[in-house]
Amino acid sequence: MSNEATLHSQQEVMHGAHDHHDHEHHHEDSFISKYVFSMDHKMIAKQFLITGIIWAVIGAFFSVLFRLQLGFPDATFPWLESILGHWAKGGRISAEAYYALVTMHGTILVFFVLTAGLSGTFSNLLIPLQVGARDMASPFMNCLSYWFFFLASLVMMASLFVQTGPASGGWTMYPPLSALGDASIGSKIGVDLWLTSMALFVVSQLLGGLNYISTILNMRTKGMAMTKMPLTIWAFFFTAVLGVLSFPVLLSGFILLLMDRHAGTSFYLSDIFIAGKALANEGGSAILYQHLFWFLGHPEVYIIVLPAMGMVSEVLAVNSRKPIFGYLAMIGSLFAICILAFLVWAHHMFVTGLNPFLGAFFVLLTLLIAVPSAIKVFNWITTIWRGKIHFTPASLFSIGFVSTFISGGLTGIWLGNSSIDIHLHDTYFVIAHFHIVMGVSAFFGMFAGIYHWFPKMYGRFMNNTLGYIHFWITLIGAYLIFWPMHYEGMAGMPRRYYDYSNWASFNQFEPLNHFISVVVIVVFATQLLFIFNFFYSIFKGRKMTTQNPWKATSLEWTTPINPGHGNWPGEIPEVHRWAYDYSKDGRDFIPQTEPIGPNESAH
């Protein structure tokens, strides 16, 4: 199909919704095949998103509960007993419940929300739409990917309701604590369910990841060279590569843990005396698990943040009406981060007794990550420089992302240096660092993505005013919550403490903890406002009347307002240029589908 014809057919779709409607009737889907076991990547994206939102509410609510304990250690809340039963006798959360909540908060947010909910949603939605494919390489595997995630969710959810409670040894699940039921009540059936759920989750990630990679490599439309792809796709590509290479290592670590728990092996166990008797296990190394865990665990933080980076790059370029600055440097830095992600895992283990000489290499490689990260930050800032910025909720969240990525990234330079880590390791400084850099930032990227591509998902807009309120309270709240935590960490205040009141070195922060908890509640309530906006707008939002509301160049906006399965009613459009021709040669934007003109300047 020539470009003329493509453009023409778009016109038709824009003005003649009826023709398009007829097209959709060609293949009728049952409710089950359309909404449940759907093989349409767009529907699967929505499934991931909504499941992720449900998990996010649960995970964030858990943080509100344990912040109540931290902020109001002496208060009692009778309603807690009515929802948590004997886990909150007399309205005060027990230590066991506190640790279960902390562990589940981490697991849920890291894996179920920011991995599945973020990259699952947007990789699925955007990869076929932006590379110009009708669907994923294997729609069936894609469908399985979601349903394995769903099964993982069910098992994890079930673990919340067992008698001895869910896993409670921290989201990192370090043995021997997680290996021995006698060491912690949560390490009874809770850890078995946790491991089962995570194994299913790994399967889901691998199915999804392989699909993303093969779709990006093989199914790009005519003319879509790798170097013409939007940065979102590059980010999803590296994310998928990271996941495919590192999740299997995590699974192997889990299998060994499962065997130590039930098959009498001693991979991680040695010299242990617990519950009044010495165990037979000898020769194992508890540190081995940490190596296996962090070999995924560190790439995992990039699995979380790379998709956010990609979407922010796209949203900033579109809303600044400028090309992303340094496109090739952006890809290069993504690639560098992807490689370095595999070479820095032991910086989580500087104080485990790791060989200091080996540690030195991890210091060097860790701080090296700051270079590609700095390149990205400067490129984003230069992207908005001399732009014509339209402040949509999406672009505001993107600016917020850059701000929190700077704030949280810089403290990474502190912690990556082992001589500072030896003081700050496992203190609130670490909490502040990673919540800002991968928690808040990744959420900001996700919000930017949701606000920006919501019209593509549902053919309607979300309410802008609610979006602005959501942004401002969340940005200010996030800084109010996490910024002061750096000081607690500088005082050596350890993380994962149920109560600090008996500690002469840490109890001076009681008023601060109180303040933080209050802000947490406000920010949580604001997120509910966002969720309300999301679901309300699906049904009642302002309708999209043009195909390309943001005047963007990329291919997803050449599809009809409500694209059917297959995305383009006619042929897939051909691509002639990169995705960032904004404000070029006096034109506001030039779609990727437009051939290079004879007099056009080269970029």
């Binding site: 390149i375 240096n417 001589s419 003081h423 005013t465 000081y487 904004y582």
Partner: protein, 347 residues
Amino acid sequence: MSGFLAVLVVVLIFIVIFQIAKASEYVSILKGEKKAREQSNRINGFLLIAFLVLGLIGVYWCNDLLKGKILGESASEQGKGVDTLIYVTLAITGFVFVITQVLLFWFAFKYQEKEGKTAFYFPHNNKLEVIWTVIPAIALTILVAFGLKHWFQLTSEAPKDAAVVEITGKQFNWIYRYPGKDGQLGRRDFKNIDPAKGNELGVDWNDPLSKDDFIPTELHLVVGKPVKFVIGSRDVIHDVGLPHFRLKMDAVPGIPTTLWVTPRFTTKEMKEKTGNPDFTYEISCDQMCGSGHYSMRGVIVVETQEEYDKWVASQKPAYELAHPAEAAPAGAPKADSTQKAVAANIK
């Protein structure tokens, strides 16, 4: 009832916000998209710059408020270097933080969409990109060099004259063992652990070196003298956290770790320095170890050599405490032979 009311108030606030948001959407449609867009741009642009200014003031104010609550001067020789490195890193990252945040929000404010303005097509610039690759690389090389120099000092072998103390973590307290007069710790094996017989650590009483080891409830250190900790765990992973000394080290079952430190101030001096009569050096457990993790507190007393010697003299060897009947009348060597005889009888 009050809970119900609170929920009601929250729901009401939600409804009000939602109604305002809905109304503003209608208003923007009535006003025309262009006008509404201009207005929201102006408001958000203003808020961005306000956030920057108030944020930077807030950062300063927060520092003013909280800097007195962090631990003050390092109480160990080793920690001095940690603090120096923190200040150097703070200077570099603080500078970058202010510059980048100012540029980000100021550009966002300055280059907001306005009538008649056009964006500048600026896809790349090799010179700029090389500059901001090379400068961070140089800054980081400096930090790595400083950091590693100090890291190798921290993790170097303890001086030969360093005292040795063993610290063992268990759910949920610390057990300290001093080597006694001979300066050497007796052998131990986790299979010998028997709390009922006063052997919490599984010390091998047949080892003559174990006879004078003592197990106090507090950790006493001599000011200005290096001490080497041999750190282990009986059950799960713990971590010996020494916030005032700026150090920590994991306690891993089956794999002993070491850490050495030279305290600079006695507890008494710290009481005066901090103006806090209740000042205590504390050991915090810094690795999640179970439901009592937060209560795993140890107390360190740093004192002068005389005070320390007096304290050591008052300590009873653990062997004697575990074998009150035999140990009381006779000296340690005899007790050893008695036990051998008992062992022979059992055989």
